[in-house]
């Protein structure tokens, strides 16, 4: 039976104080990471997930940080969305990331949920993947190797999602942190989304990042959510813009290529038809805003 009031499935819990301890507890079949719980508990309530053990990771000091090191912004897996959204480095250097986080749920959700959790939930319509994809984010994964201590490896976010609600993470592995290179001086990024009302999950969302050289688009990255089984980049548009001189027409024509990069479906939030039609408009707005933020003249 499923209920949203009580959880019927039984499981055990662990509240480790150190990362090492958490990773060991995760090695057992059926163990899952619990961070903010804002997605996981809903999935448990509807019996979509039946864990045998939850390992609570908020409060683990090795995971609870937001820092700038080695030319990258690094966000630990236990950093809360509300802390990231208001972090000075994020607000000043990555305003589009702060904007994408701000639209996730209400205040309460952002006081509970984490960026790593938003990625691990792997919803095709999640709001942080598009902006993280265009900012060249990388995900650091960690796991315990018995007595040899914690092992880590880093991969580009583009390789992290394998399908709707699916990631590359295997039993025993968890996200340690998400990192983004600090933006160059002449670059700008923007985020756009459409939803029925502001609290809803997006019908479609997108992000753009432009590196500018004078009045030329040196490099552009575009990514969209809720238009494919995973969040996707839009290589057709990116190629069409590379090393081209800015004009409003260029952005409009490039944005129309978005159809080649997406494969939307009908679902409860929208239709494939609407998503296809609105995608190019959303991309054009994001490109325009990214160009403006890069310091480009219109």
């Amino acid at each position: 039976m499923s209920s949203t009031r009580v959880i019927s499935v039984d499981f055990e819990c662990r509240s480790p104080r150190r990362l090492e301890e958490a990773l060991e507890a995760l090695n057992e079949e059926g163990s899952q990471v619990l961070a903010g719980g804002t997605d996981l508990l809903n999935n448990i309530k509807i019996n979509a997930v039946k864990p045998r053990r939850l390992v609570y990771v908020l409060g683990i000091p090795e995971l609870e940080f937001i820092s700038v090191e080695g030319g990258r912004l690094i966000v630990g897996a236990a950093a809360l969305l509300s802390d990231i959204e208001h972090n000075r480095q994020v607000v000043s250097r990555f305003p589009a990331l702060a904007e994408a986080i701000n639209v996730i749920g209400g205040t309460q959700i952002r006081n509970m949920a984490t960026l790593a959790g938003n990625l691990c939930n792997a919803s095709p319509g999640a709001d942080t993947p598009p902006i993280l994809l265009v900012l060249d984010a990388e995900v650091e994964i960690c796991w315990s190797n018995g007595g040899a201590g914690a092992q880590r490896s880093r991969l580009p976010l583009g390789g992290f999602f394998t399908g709707p609600k699916k990631t590359v993470l295997k039993q025993g592995q968890m996200v340690h942190s998400v990192s983004i290179p600090l933006p160059s001086e002449h670059s700008g990024a923007a985020f756009r989304r459409l939803a029925r009302v502001s609290l809803d999950i997006a019908k479609i969302n997108c992000a753009a990042c432009i590196e500018r050289d004078g009045d030329t688009v040196q490099r552009a990255r575009i990514a969209l959510g809720s238009v494919a089984p995973t969040p996707v980049r839009a290589p057709s548009i990116e190629k069409a813009l590379e090393s081209r001189r800015y004009s409003g027409e260029l952005f409009q024509e490039a944005a129309e290529l978005v159809e080649e990069d997406i494969a939307p479906i009908d679902d409860v939030r929208s239709t494939a038809e609407y998503r296809r039609q609105i995608a190019s408009l959303l991309v054009r707005e994001a490109l325009q805003e990214a160009w403006r933020r890069s310091g480009g003249k219109e």
Binding site: T4, D10, L34, G36, G37, T38, L41, K45, G106, T107
Partner: protein, 160 residues
């Protein structure tokens, strides 16, 4: 298997044994008898179950009780001091911000979390802070006005 935890609710310590799957909302209501915190949707959409955890508004229906071990929880029952209502509670009454009342505890706690860090919020900041609290009766206008009124009152008291 049960875990021993201590919840600090409205300044009072409650040593408890909880099962891993026990939800904080149910512990507050069914075991501590604090019925002010409401069960609304159970899936994080409505905000009726909002409580403050270490001063921040969170959803008690999406929080497992064991994760609140050792943390400070504030519920609507804890706002009244020495028999007098908190300025937010009084303002909700004075401004007619309560109709059926089901969203009110959560709404007031979200407002309290805001006023604790921003003594003089704009209407926009108030709306942003209560975006996760749905009210199906009032249309929100009186609620926003009540929060504004409360902030003025708290600031005036501070100056006296």
């Amino acid at each position: 298997m049960k875990t021993a935890i201590t919840l600090n609710v409205n300044g009072k310590e409650y040593p408890l044994e909880v099962k891993a799957n026990e939800i904080l909302l149910n512990v507050l209501r069914d075991r501590l008898g604090l019925m002010g915190t409401k069960y609304g949707c159970g899936i994080g959409e409505c905000g009726a179950c909002t409580v403050l955890l270490d001063g921040k508004a969170i959803l008690s229906c999406q929080t497992l009780a064991f994760t609140a071990d050792g943390k400070k929880i504030a519920t609507i029952e804890g706002l009244e001091q020495n028999g007098s209502l908190h300025p937010l509670q009084q303002a909700f009454i004075d401004e007619g911000a309560v109709q059926c009342g089901y969203c009110t505890p959560g709404m007031i706690l979200s407002a309290k979390a805001l006023l604790d860090i921003n003594a003089d919020p704009s209407n926009q900041e108030i709306k942003q802070a209560i975006r996760g609290n749905l009210c199906r009766c009032t249309g929100y206008t009186n609620i926003v006005r009540a929060i504004k009124t409360a902030s003025k009152k708290i600031n005036d008291q501070g100056r006296e």
